[in-house]
Subunit: 552 residues, 2 copies
């Protein structure tokens, strides 16, 4: 059952196992089953190997009727398909991850679905399918989820493939996965209650999320160790107290994790902050717990200050549902069956009266891309510099001050060999000065935790956001490209593209506002800490100086 | 004319050219001329080579009548000699260096008679013998001066050789060179005016120099460049203004150098502070001038606060003689022909009524030896530590703060890509914070000059004193040993030993007092500088913090 396929674009095999194919060439495809976006086949020169699935179009007559139609259909074939699958009304996979999975590598925040230290501990009824260690969900019928973009050329080639308003050939495109494409093509459909409406208003220059009329914050207490199954299982429990209820609820890390997965699939163009990493290093358990808690606080701050995220049902359920197991499960199931995820999210967006100028949107998006690139680069530099500075303070600076302190102390001890009354005061003072320098060495060693680590945590949080935005921007760019290339269907497409653009720009604007707020407050915190650090040193030295007046 | 000599102590040749000789062995001496304390000869095993002159006793019958009798006489032979040579009434060697030469190696203060940058420039009449580049004087008849103790065992073996009250066999012994031995043996004689009397009083526990009834200080201005011979010669001139005359005199470094030489030969048991090093490094001329001036200030402070040194004729001449060339030369010649140098110095000492208990003196001296050893060790450690700390601040610390500052500035620049009004204030504030950190880096680099260098200078001054004291202590020990071994001549010997002991202990006491004073004031200075340094940093950071409130 050798299939034939027409090559849509030139592809030059560069790596072992790949073969080159030319536009309009007819190639043989050995099996229609893709291997991470690649097909195996033979070109007209008789070479056998791999080529990207998205570069070819299977010859219609040979299309198999198999349900596993993984992106091999021609645009027309798919356009003819029913949109019935586009709203997956139930996701029975609580750990379903969405398209941002794995994009934040390197930061303390991550989204990988590794087994948590307390993950294997059942916390829900049997209706939830069991998770393997990696816990990835089975793919929903039409929009497969994966952890990485398999084709190295996907985004570049994507532009080419949008020559007609049809489905995107690359199933791994964020535009597709997020539901952006489906929405743009009018395939999204769901019932949107008034309470679900998300309003984008026109700010001075940018669309913005409507300001939160009921702002609140939420504290996270030090986690406590809990046990269950008669002490067989233990886990850390975080007490969360949102200010709008002022009632504490207890949550475990895996609850955050579950919530995160819901949010990611729910909001295609909103940057859901990454959770702090989950791998317990074991050796530094207390450090790890403290670090995770700090990460969760940053996470929570971003959540509660986001007008959309803060008030979405699943987050409110997470923040307010008490110890009633039944109520928790009900809310959980409701969230997992939420109709307004992915493509349908865009149905909830209410835009400003005047549509945006698409050219201006494009400029803004381009500007933002440049911004994020620069910021990302600088975060890397800054994190390295700060890390190095911390290390130097904790080792080198400390050592230098302690060595000086020690040499003062030794001199004081040598001087003590002279037992005459008039030298005793000096000896004590020098000894005290030595101790002071040793203490100052300790101050230096302890300081980075107070003023550099918080900056580093902030940078990590923003590194997560910066890792989210390429995908978000990609959704908007996908819509824009499609609309530009097809003026015929302007009315509806433009309207839907405007919705996507409004949401994207509102999210970008929100990013900038929180960035300015967060960096301002963190820099202030840093400087205040530094000031009190140097004041502490000064006080110590003033103390030492006084000793030279005593006993003179 | 092969001489014979009897070996007094075993000597094991360890280095090439040395031969071993055994006690009581009769060896052949090829020439009685010593080579820096060594003789050449042949032992009974036929080995030819060098052995220490002080380890052998030339056989009497063979003693040459030559005038160059350099320590080869047997004790008796020497005891029979006339004491006529002991008071060298005129020293025509203005650069005569005394016995402390070369003992302060490694410090910024030194006593070596190297050619100064302006030394070759004539400043006196032709009656002064010309100086070679190393400028060492011809040795006075009886007490040769050298820059180092030639025998590695001299001080240990010294004790053995004092079995009878005779001359010391080792002509390089400080006890001998200083004139201590000659004085103890009653060979010193000179006319002592009342004005020359130096009074030692009994303090609470220690003999002390009588307090200076006319204390004064002396300022040293920044040196000015002077020229002579129509600009052919240039030199630095220091303006000195002693408070007791309040008239400025101008002196060059070589004047200090000449004065130093006078003081060293004049006062056998007084620690004359070493002058700052004279080698101009050339490349850092300004640094060098500033460093030398600081060294001269320390030197001057010690001089003016020393009851004996401050009021001695030569120092007063140095401080008060104006521009009158003739008056200067007269004073200069007078000082160079001073009768009360070396052994005769002790004739000027007036002791407390009750003689010291020699055992107690010995204990005190022993205690002081322990003290100086410990202090010397600790000065080395401290100087190294401080030097390293300075270096770290000037390079590492500076670099770290500047790197952090730079990364802040870069982040600020990245943020400037977002041109929205609400972010402008933050961007400026972050940029300012970056600059502040870079400034703080500079502060760190500049600070050591303010607070570590002065300590280092102080340590150098004291390193010089500590290098002086072994010789001073040696003089006293030499006297004590002689007295203990010879109870017969108790009366006179004891009295003279008491004089040496009183002077030595008074000097030790003075050392302790100035040490306590100097270290107290320097530590205070250091701490005050450090405090204002950290306050400056704090102010800079407070400044930066304010920027985050502006434009918000």
């Amino acid at each position: 059952m050798a299939l034939k396929a027409r090559v849509l674009y030139d592809f030059h095999g560069e790596n072992p196992g790949e073969i080159s194919i030319a536009e309009n060439e007819l190639v043989t495809v050995f099996t229609e089953e893709e291997l991470e976006g690649w097909l195996e086949g033979e070109n007209t020169r008789g070479e056998v190997g791999l080529f990207p699935a998205s570069y070819v179009e299977l010859i219609k007559d040979h299309i198999s009727s198999s349900a596993s139609n993984n992106g091999l259909s021609s645009p027309k074939a798919i356009a003819a398909q029913s949109p019935a699958h586009t709203s997956h009304t139930s996701s029975d996979s609580p750990s379903h991850r969405g398209f941002k999975v794995g994009s934040g590598g390197g930061s303390i925040f991550n989204t990988s679905q590794g087994s948590d230290d307390d993950w294997d501990d059942d916390w829900d009824d049997g209706s939830t399918p069991a998770h393997g260690p990696q816990g990835f969900s089975t793919t929903p019928p039409m929009y497969p989820v994966t952890t990485s973009l398999p084709s190295r050329r996907s985004s570049q080639q994507q532009a080419k493939s949008s020559a007609t308003v049809g489905r995107n050939l690359n199933r791994f495109s964020t535009f597709v996965k997020s539901g952006g494409e489906a929405f743009l093509l009018g395939e999204a459909s769901a019932f949107v209650k008034d309470g679900d409406k998300i309003v984008v208003v026109m700010g001075k220059h940018w669309p913005e999320w409507q300001e939160d009329p009921y702002p609140f914050t939420c504290t996270i207490d030090d986690p406590t160790k809990q046990t269950k199954f008669k002490g067989m299982k233990s886990y850390m429990s975080y007490g969360l107290t949102p200010t709008h209820t002022n009632v504490q609820v207890n949550r475990r890390y895996k609850h955050f994790d579950w919530l995160y997965a819901r949010l990611v699939e729910r909001f295609p163009v909103i940057s859901v902050p990454h959770l702090p990493e989950k791998q317990a290093t074991g050796r530094f358990e207390e450090d790890f717990i403290s670090k995770r808690r700090k990460g969760l606080i940053w996470w929570m701050n971003h959540m509660t200050s986001h007008p959309v995220l803060a008030h979405c049902d699943v987050f409110q359920h997470f923040l307010t549902c008490g110890a009633d197991e039944k109520a928790w499960k009900m809310g959980k199931r409701k969230a997992e069956r939420d109709d307004l995820v992915g493509a349908n999210f865009f149905l909830t967006i209410s835009t400003p009266a005047v549509p945006l100028d698409l050219q201006e949107v494009e400029n803004k998006i381009e500007g933002f891309k440049t911004f994020t690139k620069r910021m990302d680069e600088n975060i890397v530099v800054m994190n390295t510099t700060i890390g190095e500075f911390s290390r130097k303070q904790m080792t080198g600076f400390k050592k230098e001050y302690q060595k000086v302190g020690q040499s003062f102390r030794l001199l004081g001890q040598a001087f003590e060999l002279d037992q005459q009354a008039y030298s005793a005061g000096l000896n004590r003072a020098i000894a005290y000065t030595g101790e002071s320098y040793e203490a100052i060495g300790e101050y230096f060693a302890e300081q980075p935790r107070q003023d550099l680590e918080p900056i580093s945590d902030l940078l990590d949080l923003y590194k997560g956001h910066l890792a989210n935005f390429p995908d978000i921007v990609h959704v908007q760019k996908g819509a824009l490209t499609k609309v530009k290339d097809c003026p015929k269907q302007e009315g509806e497409l433009h309207e839907r593209c405007n919705i996507i653009s409004c949401a994207t720009l509102a999210e970008i604007q929100h990013f900038h506002r929180t960035r300015v707020r967060d960096f301002r407050s963190q820099m202030q915190h840093h400087l205040r800490q530094q000031i009190s650090f140097f004041q502490k040193i000064t006080a110590k030295l003033e103390d030492a100086l006084l000793k030279y007046d005593d006993d003179q």
